[in-house]
Amino acid sequence: MPYDDPEGDDPHELVGVVLPGDETSTREMARAFAEEFVQLGWSRGQILGLFHDPAYTGAHGAREALGAEEIGRIVDEAVHLFGGFHVTVTEPASPTKPTAPNRRSLRVLQ
């Protein structure tokens, strides 16, 4: 962590460039994360936790930019759209180790 002025040729010094980033793309990113993770079987609380955790900067940044209420609305919408079914994966019993077929449910029920 540098505390002094960087040298002119310091490769760690980022040259500022304005990138097109607006509310629309931030909202779309938040929506993409919410929908993808609902489809993976995450619960509302788990997804809100992802947005709350500053370690996940993309999701957290969206929460900072749009507000917790708006993120809650986006997550609720994703849960409403994709949260009412669950995908079940069935693996056949192993011929070498005879067991019953292994069924895994991928959605935590709301």
Partner: protein, 422 residues
């Protein structure tokens, strides 16, 4: 230099060696829309292959935050800058995207790193346009990717809203990267010792450490910067695609080909890896029921990373749907708009194939899609979601069923003792 066919560029290109192709090729698809940069893949690789002294700076698998991040820092900006300097304003694509497997993304009219190298480098032994990253660029993966430099003199104080430093005010996405095990590897082309080779059975690119003398030509040439030099052994090293797992010789694999460590550990389930059939001309042989063939050549939602560099990489990405298109077109080529349109409005088969991601650690060689009845419909505003109880069945190398998925309505069974509560 001989000419070889590069289907990603829609044309032939020069390459230092005659074309030679494996019967199957190690390939993978990463769905960026799901990646949250948890770095579990990074640590799975690190703890398996690069945990020793002298390998501290090596991250064969890494996840970097775009647009600011890169490991080594600025790797893509630097090679794109060099190509632009070699061929000013000429790095462009022509023609339209098409359904043809010959020119799916149109034609690249600019120069690849091999072609630009021929024109700009001397002596003749220099075959590939590249550069050697500095130690600083290797040493600090992820630094300042998410956070710009913070306030001077404020030591270790947490930001009021939780983060230590302010965050960049722009869009983000996370780019997970490993060696692309390219069809025309730049590392292999540049090695004066011929220490790098591509395996005929699976196209995995390996570096023979007995032959390597540490000239670092591979480090300089690989545009993705996935060949790395190890100071204490004075030879270079690179991702080996966890080949014992892919071969099925790893004890854990039980004889069946298994996906790599970074794939198997993926929390966001963004990854699928396989072995695709290759034609005698280097293009993918038609294999309609192979999930990777479907994603790359049928649905065309998965695109190569910087195809214009010319190495024909075998890593493919489903681009993030929220990022400005010009940035994505530079990174994944002209197929971006079609890929996002199809991914955002998936048909039933694409939805089914997406269910194959990370349901098993065994490599899928074929899938079957069976249509089922409509089971679910919901709507928010104009957006309507309809789900069918379609089944997708995955098969392994010997044709054995690996797993199948189906859709179920949630059912809650109340326990006897609490009959009045859920």
């Amino acid at each position: 230099m001989p000419n070889v066919k590069n289907w990603q560029l829609g044309r032939e290109m020069s390459y230092p060696y005659e074309a030679k192709y494996p019967s199957r090729q190690f390939a993978f698809v990463f769905n960026i829309n799901r990646c949250i940069a948890c770095q579990t893949c990074t640590m799975a690789c690190k703890s398996t292959w690069t945990f020793s002294k002298g390998q501290e700076h090596m991250w064969w698998a890494n996840v970097e935050t775009k647009p600011y991040g890169g490991y080594p820092q600025f790797w893509d900006v630097k090679i794109l800058e060099r190509l632009e300097a070699a061929n000013p304003a000429g790095q462009v694509w022509s023609g339209d995207v098409s359904e043809s497997p010959e020119q799916p993304y149109g034609q690249f009219d600019g120069q690849t790193i091999f072609e630009a190298g021929q024109k700009t480098l001397s002596p003749d032994s220099a075959r590939v346009l590249g550069y050697l990253p500095s130690d600083e660029e290797w040493n600090s993966p992820n630094i300042y990717e998410d956070n710009p430099v913070g306030g001077r003199g404020v030591r270790d104080q947490l930001h009021k809203s939780g983060e230590q430093l302010p965050i960049h005010k722009t869009w983000f996405f996370y780019l997970a990267r490993i060696c692309n095990h390219c069809s025309y590897p730049a590392c292999l082309a540049a090695c004066p010792r011929k220490a790098i080779y591509k395996r005929p059975e699976d196209g995995i690119v390996l570096l023979d450490q007995k032959e390597c003398r540490g000239y670092r030509k591979c480090v300089e040439a690989c545009p993705y910067k996935k060949a790395m030099y190890r100071g204490n052994t004075r030879v270079s090293e690179k991702c080996i695609a966890c080949y014992p797992r892919v071969e099925g010789t790893d004890p854990e694999s039980d004889g069946d080909p298994m996906e790599t460590r970074c794939m198997a550990s993926c929390v966001g389930q963004i990854r699928m890896q396989g072995l695709v059939k290759i034609d005698s001309d280097g293009s993918w042989a038609e294999d309609r029921q192979h999930p990777l063939y479907y994603l790359v050549h049928v649905a065309k939602v998965a695109l190569p990373l910087y195809p214009q560099l010319g190495t024909q990489p075998n890593g493919y990405y489903i681009p993030p749907r929220w990022v400005p298109r010009p940035y994505l077109r530079q990174m994944f080529g002209p197929g971006v708009d079609r890929a996002i349109e199809r991914y955002a409005n998936p048909d039933r088969e694409l939805l089914a194939v997406l269910q194959l991601f990370r349901r098993s650690n065994k490599i899928i060689f074929r899938y079957e899609f069976q249509e089922g009845p409509k089971v679910y419909e919901r709507q928010v505003g104009e957006r309507k979601v309809t789900i069918y109880n379609d089944t997708v069945i995955a098969y392994g190398r010997e044709g054995q069923e690996l797993f199948r998925t189906s859709i179920e309505e949630p059912v809650h069974v109340r326990p006897d003792v609490h009959a009045n509560s859920i």
